[in-house]
Symmetry: C2
Subunit: 146 residues, 2 copies
C-alpha cells in the first residue's frame, strides 16, 4: 500500500469512515432505512414537532434534503407533515407512533453496528477513542491556535 499515508490522520480517519459507513449502510439497507431517515426521526423524537427548516438545523441536513427525505418518511407513515396554522409558510412535522417504533428498531440496529465497528478495541480503548474523536469531530469555530 502507500506507506506515505500510513500515519496520516486524515487518511486513517477516511479509511475508518469507509469501514464504518459500509457497516452502517449495509445494516440500514437490510433494515430498509437510510441514515438520513434515522437522523430525522431522532431529531423529531427528541425535540418534538418542528418546522422543516428547524428540523434540518437540528439534524444537520440541508433544507432540500429534508424535503425529499420527508417525502419518503411521510409516504411510509412515519412522520406527519401538516401546514402550520400559525405560519402558513411553514410545515409542522411530527413523528407518528409508527415512526417511533421504527426509530426504536433502528436504534437497535445502530447499537449492533457500533459493536461490530468497535470490535477491534477493548472497552477502555473505546472510551478513550470516543473522547478523542469527539474533539476532532467538533468544528473548532472560533478556536484560534496560538
Amino acid at each position: 500500500m502507500v506507506h506515505r499515508l500510513d500515519g496520516r490522520a486524515t487518511w486513517l480517519v477516511g479509511r475508518a469512515h469507509l469501514r464504518s459507513h459500509g457497516l452502517l449502510q449495509e445494516a440500514f439497507a437490510a433494515a430498509g432505512a437510510r441514515p438520513y431517515h434515522y437522523r430525522l426521526l431522532a431529531a423529531l423524537e427528541e425535540s418534538g414537532p418542528l418546522s422543516q427548516a428547524e428540523l434540518g438545523r437540528a439534524a444537520g441536513l440541508d433544507r432540500g434534503d429534508v424535503t425529499r427525505s420527508l417525502d419518503v418518511l411521510g409516504g411510509s407513515g412515519l412522520i406527519l407533515r401538516e401546514p402550520d396554522p400559525a405560519d402558513r409558510k411553514r410545515n409542522r412535522v411530527s413523528i407518528t407512533r409508527a415512526g417511533r417504533a421504527e426509530l426504536y428498531r433502528l436504534d437497535a440496529v445502530l447499537t449492533e453496528v457500533q459493536e461490530r465497528f468497535l470490535a477491534p478495541l477493548s472497552a477502555g480503548e473505546r472510551a478513550v477513542f470516543l473522547g478523542l474523536v469527539a474533539r476532532l469531530a467538533r468544528d473548532p469555530e472560533g478556536a484560534r491556535e496560538a
Copy 2:
C-alpha cells in the same frame, strides 16, 4: 442537535471525516490537485513503475478511476504511460521528474492539513488517537496483504 448520536462511534467518525475531508479538499483544491492524484503519485514513487491495475490495487482505486485520473496526470506531464513491451495488454506507468516535484509539494500540503486537523489534540493524544484509529481503519475480515 441529535442527542442520540452524541456517543455513537459511527456518527463521530463520520463527523470527523467530514471535517478532515473538508480541510483536505480545500487545501488540495487550492494547490490544484485532488486526493486521487496524490495517492497515485505516491504509489508510483514508492513502488516504481506499475501497470494500471497494479497501481489501482496499490492505491486502493478502482481500475476505471485509475484510467481517468491518469488521463489528467498524463496531460500535466506528471506521469508517463507507455505500452508494456512484455505484455501488450498492459500499460507501464511511471512517475516523471515533474510528478515527483508535485508529489513533494503535495506532501507539504498534506502535512499542513494534518496539523490543522489534529489541532484540538496534544502531541500525546495524537499518538494515542492514531494508534486506535489505525486499528479501526483496518478491515478485520479478508484483506490479506502481501
